[in-house]
């Protein structure tokens, strides 16, 4: 278990993405405390997905630095960043629909696990999300909610130091959301979680720390209660002009 420390596991400095003349992110200076659950929130178009895209390397940054565990990884391609201990689940479900559930998780685990321990590793990850009895099912045949859980199992199987979840509750039913929050809380302390989330109930229940993006810039960051009370955040969400 990683201890909860104040040393940031991930840091960005001046991270900027310009699409032509349009700034999706402008000089984002961001610090992610290790061992905690941080939620990245913000209104539609605030630049959340672009930001995590630049962190994971899926989207090339226009300028700025990404620092992971004290190392500048700005020049590394996405797969190499994942190799350093990041795991990422897509906003839109992305699994191997034609392969069985077990093989989906095995593919995630195999990069770091040898053959002798693979079965146990896969079993543990599936049990963790409650899909142990579906291991032989074809992944594409699972219900939508189960596919989202499968993605989380694929993330867990990589033993990530940083687990980035891009809108994991999108499209889930109420009951599934509750189960998901419990699962995320259960992971707290084991790994660092960066949660990009729209659902404010989930954010308030799950997160230890919140960062608010608005118009591509960090608007506020702090404890959930402080963020809830922050006038600038309220203004951004409610659309008042005095922010």
């Amino acid at each position: 278990m990683a201890s909860v420390t104040s040393r940031p596991i991930l840091e960005t400095r001046g991270l900027t993405k310009l699409y032509g003349g349009l700034a999706a992110n402008t000089d984002v200076d961001f610090q992610l405390p290790a061992g905690r659950i941080t939620a990245l929130i913000g209104p539609n178009g605030a630049g959340k997905s672009t930001f995590v895209g630049m962190v994971t390397g899926r989207i090339p940054a226009t300028r700025g630095q990404v620092i992971f565990e004290g190392r500048d990884i700005s020049a590394l391609p996405a797969h190499a960043r994942i190799g350093l201990g990041m795991a990422y689940t897509f906003q839109i479900t992305s699994i191997f629909p034609g392969l069985d559930v077990r093989e989906n998780v095995a593919l995630a685990a195999r990069r770091k696990t040898d053959g002798a321990h693979l079965g146990a590793k896969v079993g543990a990850a599936l049990a963790r999300v409650g899909l142990a009895d579906r291991a032989d099912a074809v992944a594409g045949d699972l219900s939508y909610g189960h596919q989202r859980l499968l993605e989380i199992a694929m993330g867990l199987a990589q033993d990530p130091k940083l687990f980035i979840l891009d809108e994991p509750t999108q499209g889930l039913a109420e009951s599934e959301v509750a189960g998901f929050v419990a699962l995320i809380r259960d992971l707290a302390g084991e790994t660092t979680i960066l949660l990009i989330e729209h659902n404010m109930d989930v954010v308030m229940q799950a997160a230890d720390h919140i960062v608010v993006l608005d118009q591509g810039m960090v608007l506020a960051s702090g404890e959930p209660q402080a963020i809830r009370a922050d006038r600038a955040v309220q203004a951004a969400y409610l659309g008042t002009a005095d922010a």
Binding site: T56, H79, I82, Y88, G98, R111
Partner: protein
């Protein structure tokens, strides 16, 4: 483990069946078996890239030809003995695969198909251009001394069959292991969802380059074996039809299955053979059969079997 045993057992069974066919069939059909096995090696190489990695190349004839000319030209012009010339043929296929792959993999989808097609056309035209040495379309007959391996002349029917069987068996067994290996499973993952594979930390571009190189090496091996066993090298083997054939064989037999390539070559060979015995417009019959099979068995023959037998490798 039992999965691996089952795969090996199936492949050994296929090999045993080929031996039984050779011993029991009339000479004409038994003779065809050698040709079918060599072409099946080519199809297995193609299938690794198309069926397992999900990359559709329209230019594999250049790799087949690289093997054929790599072997044939060193034997013909430099007087190399069979084995070194044969090894050079495989190497030529692999090297061409590495170079063409590095360039073609900068594209994807339809662009990848067009780029591989263009490279193959360039290779074909290069062979014609250097006609002084390659004898162009007319081709040349491989010198007899380069067809003798370990004192055995491979131009005899039985010797040829045994040589083809050994090569095919090796390729089939190794490909069975390969597709079940960590590399093979990751190639399947790339076929299924490349972006997800990349975001699981795999260097998809590098893995695809490996797949092309291995696929090209197997195609080169098939090309060299064809020249070695049948004694002829010609530019027609570098032309467009020889890029399309492996695609057809693999589609018919079952893409992404280890036995599909052999089944596809077998089926196509006897489809054309039978149809040409009935009418001069045999391609019309062959075409119709292909259309029907694609309509009713889009997964190919082995793909149909896999619906019932899910473990089929």
């Amino acid at each position: 483990m039992s999965e691996r045993l089952r795969t090996d057992a199936l492949h050994l069974g296929v090999i045993a069946l080929l031996v039984v066919l050779f011993l029991t069939l009339p000479t004409y059909y038994a003779g065809n078996l050698s040709r079918i096995m060599v072409l099946a090696i080519y199809a297995i190489g193609y299938n690794l890239l198309f069926g397992y990695t999900g990359l559709l190349s329209l230019g594999h004839a250049m790799f087949f030809a690289a093997g054929m000319y790599g072997y044939g030209l060193t034997a013909q012009l430099a007087g190399w003995p069979a084995l070194p010339a044969f090894a050079l043929g495989i190497l030529a296929g692999a090297a061409l695969g590495l170079v063409v792959g590095a360039l073609a993999l900068r594209t994807a989808g339809v662009a990848f198909m067009i780029v591989t097609l263009m490279f193959a056309q360039s290779a074909y035209l290069t062979i014609l251009y250097f006609g002084t040495w390659t004898r162009g379309d007319e081709g040349f007959v491989v010198p007899g001394v380069a067809r003798v391996v370990l004192g055995i002349d491979l131009s005899g029917e039985t010797e040829r069959f045994v040589a083809a069987l050994i090569l095919f068996s090796l390729v089939l067994l190794v490909s069975g292991r390969l597709v079940r290996s960590r590399l093979g499973r990751t190639l399947v993952a790339i076929r299924e969802n490349e972006e997800r594979t990349r975001m699981l930390g795999y260097d998809a571009t590098r893995l695809k380059l490996i797949a092309i190189t291995v696929s090209a090496a197997l195609s080169g091996l098939a090309g060299a074996a064809y020249a070695l066993l049948f004694g002829y090298v010609g530019a027609s083997f570098a032309a467009v039809p020889y890029s399309i054939f492996p695609l057809l064989w693999v589609l018919l037999g079952g893409a992404g299955t280890t036995v599909g390539p052999l089944i596809g070559v077998f089926f196509m060979f006897y489809l054309i053979d039978t149809a040409s015995g009935i009418t001069l417009a045999y391609m019309l019959i062959a075409g119709l059969a292909l259309v029907l099979l694609t309509l009713f068995a889009p997964q190919g023959i082995a793909g149909l079997v896999r619906r019932r037998v899910r473990w089929l490798p």
